[in-house]
Structure formats: structure tokens, C-alpha cells
């Protein structure tokens, strides 16, 4: 029951490390890679705060066996944007008060990004559906939905 090597792409850069048997992807990203943006909220797939994007699809990292990401491409909020180069989603979350305690935000942003990557012009209902697996306990969802819709408009080059 030795450790297993895993190679994958993490926010655009190649990574290789060893994982313990049974270790989940959330643990690997946080303790192994040192990317602390995905959060533990439940460990059972109900809260969505550990959501990451694997090969373009949203996944719950706490329910993903770490070694199954061999050769795959992982994106997290840690790689979304920083400093001056924020993603429109991040800007809209900031300006639209779409986060209060901030704990759900990294997962929420990944759920939103995977929607906008596939569907750049979503309806309000599609936005609601896309974040339906992500719980927020502080802000309420409306500010989040509005922020995602405004970010979509921005990405489309439309005036907000």
C-alpha cells in the first residue's frame, strides 16, 4: 500500500506528486500542491465548496479519488486571476457583494466558470442550475446569480 505517483496539469502548470491510497483530490490539492483555494465543507458532496474544474467539467474534489486525475487538467479558483488580472467573474463577485464570509466563493466561482466556458450566454435559470450544487449560507444566492450574469455580459463584450 505504497504511495502512488500522479501527474497532472494544475492551473496551467505540470505537477507530479505522490498520493496516499484513498486520498481525495481536495486533500491532494490543499496539502500536496499547496493550493488552498478549494475548501472542505462536508466531505460528502452536499455543499460544493470543494468544486474544481477537471477537463472542463465541474467536479467535487472531496469525492474524487486523487489518483484518478492522472493526465488530466485541473483548474481552481487559485489560478483564476490575481492582482490586477482578475477574471470578470471575480470582479463582479467583488463589486456585487456576492460573497460575505467567502468560504463558498472558490467553489461557486468554479461552478460559474465551467458554465460560462460551455455556455457564454446563459439564462438566469441556467445560472441557477449551474450553481445548484453549491451552498451559500451568508449572502443569499441572488447577488451571486446577478454577478454571474453580469460577468457573462462582460465576457460577451456587452455593456453591463
Amino acid at each position: 500500500m505504497s504511495k502512488k505517483p500522479v501527474q497532472f496539469t494544475h492551473n496551467g502548470s505540470a505537477k507530479a506528486l505522490f498520493v496516499n491510497g484513498g486520498e481525495n483530490l481536495l486533500e491532494m490539492l490543499r496539502r500536496g500542491v499547496g493550493d488552498l483555494s478549494p475548501k472542505y465543507g462536508c466531505g460528502q458532496g452536499t455543499c460544493g465548496s470543494c468544486t474544481v474544474i477537471i477537463d472542463g467539467e465541474p467536479h467535487l474534489s472531496c469525492l474524487t479519488l486523487a489518483e484518478t486525475v492522472e493526465g488530466r487538467d485541473i483548474q481552481t479558483t487559485g489560478g483564476l486571476g490575481a492582482g490586477e488580472n482578475l477574471h470578470p467573474l471575480q470582479k463582479e463577485f467583488m463589486e456585487g457583494f456576492a460573497a460575505q464570509c467567502g468560504f463558498c466563493s472558490p467553489g461557486m466561482l468554479m461552478a460559474a466558470k465551467s458554465l460560462l466556458d460551455r455556455n457564454p450566454n446563459p439564462t438566469r435559470d441556467e445560472v441557477i442550475e449551474a450553481i445548484s450544487g453549491n451552498m451559500c449560507r451568508c449572502t443569499g444566492y441572488n447577488a451571486i446569480i446577478e454577478a454571474i450574469l453580469r460577468a457573462a455580459s462582460q465576457l460577451q463584450g456587452r455593456a453591463v
Partner: protein, 616 residues
């Protein structure tokens, strides 16, 4: 961005509209960290050699622990240390002991008798979380299952199982005298006889879990200076610090607590359950230790808003005026006190809600049951009774055939009214809220209701007065457990007392400062109240007693529009309950600590630091 609507026509002369932040949209100062995933929550600090702690928890509501066998767990792969109740230096505490409220009733790790499902008994520290979980399953605890009680009214009855020996009557002791918090204002019994309608209701709330998305937890690690650093998700950093110092019998100067970034709390992260165990783990192993709830524990073991039951009885006139309101409140504290007894004191101060009612009485009980201990949640002590009051207002409206909004405006408190806890109401705005709500809901109010204002009519006639008040001595500590007596205020009382109108029966007690340096000059904080005798230049015994205090002058209300720069009105007397509990005079002798102050750095240069360098 803001969908907020400002109704600036109200209270315009009480407000400054030229403020830089208030009333204007602003961006949170911490939000850049939130949207980039870089806000440092307690678990976002990486330590080499981090150990994980998991607890063995009671599967029973109530059971005596016959034996604990950890030998198999100690042999499990990865297990570093098994922490038992005896390893906790001072294994009994109550949260509010930090403000001298209540008796120590709860162990950090329970070794003799568990009183709720999920109570922690033993903690296992292992290299990985999964190893700690596997070892937890190997601990053998032998229980003698005891009868349990889950309903608070059952728990108050004679013969109900004793939840905690610290409170053998299953009720918190208020003021060393009663098994409940009393409030008496006027004479509800007499007013009920005069009322056109008596309207009664019973309201109940189930426990509510705060359910923060970040589960509660803490990481502690030894530092190089004989101190421990503790990163925690607590909402109450200094509570957690003080609680840890007390339970671990360790000077707080050795505890370096870092909090502030909390992944949602809503009141559920004030109980300081994680920090003492994490620090103890770091102390016993010399390594960084993380102790946190998983989601299941957050829901089952994490303290919720407690269950409450309220009985309300109103005496109402045909025109909708409520002339009397009687409350009987029962808080289900669960197995231990935590913050429930204090919530009741706070809630009692809120009665009878935002209404001016000349006769109010209330008995509120803090009852121990074999359920998960309850704690704070948004609107702590108030939310439950507000739900009951507002549901009851609707019931009253139906009985007197009034629109519920008009009934509220009619009975609403106004600036200058005397409240049942003997303070003047000020900055009231219920009438205006009702008027705007009616407008938004398309409800047409009568001209009289539309013309009402919180600024007018308050403090007129009876509204200003503390009425003559009837008292009783029902419900002394332990009385109810010997033979069943009524839970409702004054019911069945054979002897009644009377306190003259305008006079509070209690007295304001002030403990003299221990050190002249600690005395705050009145005026520096904007307070312009009467001399409390705290000024060290004027010798005083520091407290007033009922016998020595002349009746307070009839208080007068000073409207906020006309502040008096010199001497404000004398404060009304402040009897939080009545009759007054016997109070011990404050110690005249200066404070001498029973142990010398320990700064925690005993051996400079000697490191207890074995591992745990921070990588980030």
C-alpha cells in the same frame, strides 16, 4: 448595486446624511481574498508533520461510563497519542464563567457520565485523519445506559432523570433563588379580569443548526518560546483563549491565538470546543494538531439554536389595546449551560416585544435535557420569543377583528414609553416600519394609523410610569421537583407582595474597580449618567442596597432632540427581576491573584519545538 431603498422622510432630523460610508454601497475590505481563494481560514495554514485528532463520542443520550479501554486503539497504525479525560488539567468549565455567570458544568472530555448523543469521551491523535478515524472505532467504552429526558417540561417534573448533577433540578438557578428568570411589571392578573378578551397561545421552535459552510475547527502548534499558536475558526477569539487557558490550566500569555477569518458562524462558533483540545494535543505530542468537526459532527454535536416553547396570554380591550401580557418561556438548553441561561436574561429584557403594555409578567426557564447543548444563533435570546409574540399578535388581531398591521401600530412602543424592564424606549421605529410595510403590501391603513408616529404620544400618562407591581415567590430552587407546581407567573401563589408605583424593587449594584487606574472618567466615553460611586476620590461602599437607597425620583424621559449638555435625567432604577435576589456585597479587599502571573517564557532559548515549521 444596491437594491436598498432609503426612506429619508423618516427621522430626518435625527440623522446625518453627509456620512462617507453609512448609507452608501461599499466593497468589503476582505473580498479580494475571497474571490481569489486566498483568504486565510484556520485550515489554510500548512504545517509539516500535522497530526489529526478525532473524538470517541457517546452513542447514548444518557449513560454512566463504566470503563474505557483504549489499548486496541493505541496499537493502531499511525496513532500517536490517546487523550483521556484525566489528561485535561482542569476538566470542568462553563463558557460564561469568564464573566462569572453560572457554575462549571461541562467536561472537555467526559469520563464519568455522558448526557447527550455525541458527547466527547476520548480523543485520538494520529498521523492522518483516516488513521484517527479507524482508531476511534477501536476504543471500547462500556456504558450503563440511564433513563433520559428529551422534553423540557418533562425534565422539570418530580422524578425526571437528573441530566447534570451540577444542576440537580434540571433548571438553571437564577440569582441563587428561583428556578426561572422572573419579570413582574404591574398586575397582569387584575388586568385579565378587566379585559374584554383573553387570548392564549402556545408556540414552539425546534432547534436550528447554524450550518456554516466551514465546519468548526482549530490547528494548534508549539512555538519556539514555550507558547502555542492556535489558528481557529472561532467567532469569539478571546472566549476561546480564556476557555483554553482555564481548561488547560495554562496562563493565557502562553497562548497565541489567531482568528478573524471565519467561514460562516451565525453564532455556532462561540462554544470554544476545538481550541482547548487542539492546544492540548499540541502540548501532549509536541507537534501541530488539527481538530475539527466533519459535517456530521457539525450537525449532530455542534450546538444549535435551542428549542423554545412559549405560552402567551393577553388581556385585550375591544378596541385592540393590549392591557396585559403574560409569558411562560421554556428554553431547552440541552445537556449543558453554554449560553442558554444568559440568552434568557437577554430575552427577558426584550419582553413584551416592541409594544407598550402596562401589565407584563413572565417566567422563563432554562431547562437541561439530554439533547445536544444549545448555544447562540443570530438574534440570540430574542428570535424565538419574537416569533411567538408576532404569531400571537396575528391571533389577537383576528380575535378583535382588526387588521394585524393596525393592531401593531396601535400597541407599538413609542419614544419615551417605559418598558417592562424599566428602561425608556428610545429610537423606536415600529410604527414607521408598519406604515411602509402596509404601503408595500397594498394594505390601506386608516387615517389615524397613517398619522401615528414613534415620536408622538410616547411617555404620555401611564406610558411613562412604572406601575404598582404585584410580586410572588413561586418557583424557588428545587420547589418544583418536590411537588408539581404551576409554571405560569404567579399562578398558585398564596402570598403576594406589592411594590409601589414608580419604584423599582431591585437596586443597581456596582462592583468597585480593583485598581484606581481602571476607573474610567465619566464623560470620556460620552456617558453623562448619575454618579455611581465609582470615583475613587469619593469613598463609597460601591453598592447600594434597597434599605439604604431612598426611592428613586419618578423618572422623566428626555427626548433625543433636546439633549441637555449639563446633567441628564437620573437613570431609572434597574431591577432586572423582582423581587431582588440577595446580593453579596462586593469584596472590599484588593484583588490578589492566587497564582503569580506567568508570562510563559521560563527557559529562554530552550526550544520545545520539535516539528511544525510553517510552510506558508
Amino acid at each position: 448595486m444596491s437594491s436598498m431603498e432609503f426612506r429619508k422622510e423618516y427621522f430626518a432630523d435625527e440623522r446625518d446624511d453627509n456620512l462617507n460610508e453609512i448609507g452608501k454601497p461599499t466593497i468589503r475590505q476582505d473580498i479580494l481574498g475571497h474571490v481569489t481563494g486566498r483568504s486565510p481560514y484556520y485550515d489554510d495554514h500548512l504545517f509539516d508533520g500535522l497530526l489529526h485528532m478525532r473524538c470517541v463520542r457517546s452513542p447514548h443520550e444518557h449513560a454512566r461510563i463504566r470503563s474505557i479501554d483504549t489499548s486496541a486503539a493505541e496499537q493502531m497504525e499511525g496513532v500517536i497519542r490517546v487523550v483521556k479525560p484525566d489528561d485535561v488539567p482542569n476538566n470542568l468549565n462553563t463558557l460564561l464563567s469568564l464573566i462569572n455567570f453560572g457554575r462549571d458544568d461541562e467536561a472537555l472530555l467526559q469520563g464519568t457520565k455522558v448526557a447527550y448523543v455525541g458527547e466527547a469521551i476520548v480523543a485520538i491523535i494520529a498521523e492522518t485523519e483516516l488513521q484517527a478515524r479507524a482508531a476511534v472505532k477501536k476504543v471500547r467504552v462500556e456504558y450503563e445506559v440511564l433513563p433520559h429526558v428529551l422534553d423540557p417540561e418533562e425534565a422539570m417534573k418530580p422524578g425526571a432523570p437528573v441530566v447534570s448533577e451540577v444542576y440537580p433540578n434540571n433548571t438553571f438557578d437564577y440569582h441563587d433563588l428561583y428556578d426561572h428568570q422572573k419579570l413582574r411589571f404591574g398586575d397582569t392578573e387584575k388586568a385579565f379580569q378587566e379585559a374584554d378578551h383573553i387570548i392564549e397561545g402556545k408556540y414552539q421552535l425546534s432547534p436550528i443548526e447554524q450550518a456554516p459552510i466551514e465546519t468548526g475547527g482549530a490547528i494548534a502548534a508549539p512555538e519556539t518560546n514555550n507558547r502555542y499558536v492556535c489558528y481557529t475558526g472561532t467567532q469569539a477569539l478571546f472566549f476561546s483563549l480564556g476557555t483554553t487557558a482555564k481548561l488547560l490550566d495554562m496562563p493565557s500569555s502562553r497562548l497565541h491565538f489567531i482568528g478573524g477569518t471565519v467561514g460562516g458562524g451565525f453564532g455556532g462558533k462561540v462554544d470554544s470546543l476545538h481550541e482547548p483540545l487542539a492546544v492540548l494535543g499540541a502540548h501532549l505530542t509536541g507537534r501541530p494538531v488539527k481538530f475539527c468537526f466533519d459535517r456530521q459532527e457539525e450537525m449532530q454535536v455542534g450546538a444549535p439554536r435551542g428549542a423554545e416553547r412559549w405560552y402567551i396570554k393577553d388581556g385585550v380591550m375591544n378596541d385592540g389595546t393590549i392591557i396585559a401580557r403574560q409569558f411562560t418561556g421554556i428554553f431547552d438548553a440541552g445537556a449543558y449551560s453554554r449560553l442558554s441561561p444568559y440568552a434568557i436574561v437577554k430575552g427577558t429584557g426584550h419582553l413584551p416585544g416592541p409594544y407598550t403594555i402596562p401589565n407584563v409578567s413572565s417566567n422563563v426557564y432554562c431547562v437541561y435535557t439530554n439533547r445536544t447543548p444549545a448555544t447562540a444563533m443570530r438574534g440570540f435570546g430574542i428570535t424565538g420569543v419574537d416569533f411567538a409574540i408576532e404569531a400571537h399578535m396575528d391571533k389577537v388581531a383576528v380575535a378583535v377583528n382588526m387588521h394585524p398591521i393596525e393592531l401593531r401600530i396601535k400597541n407599538a412602543y413609542r419614544d419615551g414609553d417605559m418598558k417592562a424592564h424599566r428602561r425608556f424606549a428610545k429610537n423606536t421605529a415600529l410604527i414607521e416600519c408598519c406604515q411602509v410595510a402596509a404601503e408595500k403590501a397594498g394594505v390601506r391603513l386608516s387615517p389615524e394609523m397613517l398619522a401615528a408616529s414613534s415620536l408622538q404620544g410616547g411617555g404620555e400618562g401611564y406610558r411613562r410610569d412604572i406601575p404598582e407591581t404585584v410580586t410572588d415567590q413561586m418557583g424557588k430552587i428545587g420547589e418544583r421537583r418536590r411537588s408539581e407546581i404551576s409554571i405560569h407567573p404567579g399562578e398558585g401563589a398564596t402570598t403576594k407582595g406589592r411594590v409601589a408605583a414608580g419604584v423599582g424593587s431591585g437596586s443597581s449594584i456596582a462592583v468597585p474597580a480593583q485598581d484606581a487606574d481602571m476607573v474610567m472618567e465619566s464623560g470620556r466615553n460620552g456617558y453623562r449618567g448619575p454618579d455611581t460611586g465609582l470615583n475613587p476620590d469619593k469613598p463609597s461602599n460601591g453598592h447600594a442596597t434597597q434599605a439604604s437607597t431612598p426611592p428613586a425620583p419618578q423618572p422623566t424621559y428626555q427626548p433625543p432632540q433636546a439633549p441637555q449638555p449639563t446633567q441628564a435625567a437620573p437613570q431609572p432604577p434597574t431591577p432586572p427581576q423582582q423581587p431582588a435576589a440577595p446580593q453579596t456585597p462586593a469584596q472590599a479587599a484588593p484583588y490578589v491573584p492566587d497564582k503569580p502571573f506567568d508570562k510563559g517564557v521560563r527557559r529562554p532559548g530552550v526550544s520545545r519545538f520539535l516539528s511544525g515549521s510553517r510552510r506558508r
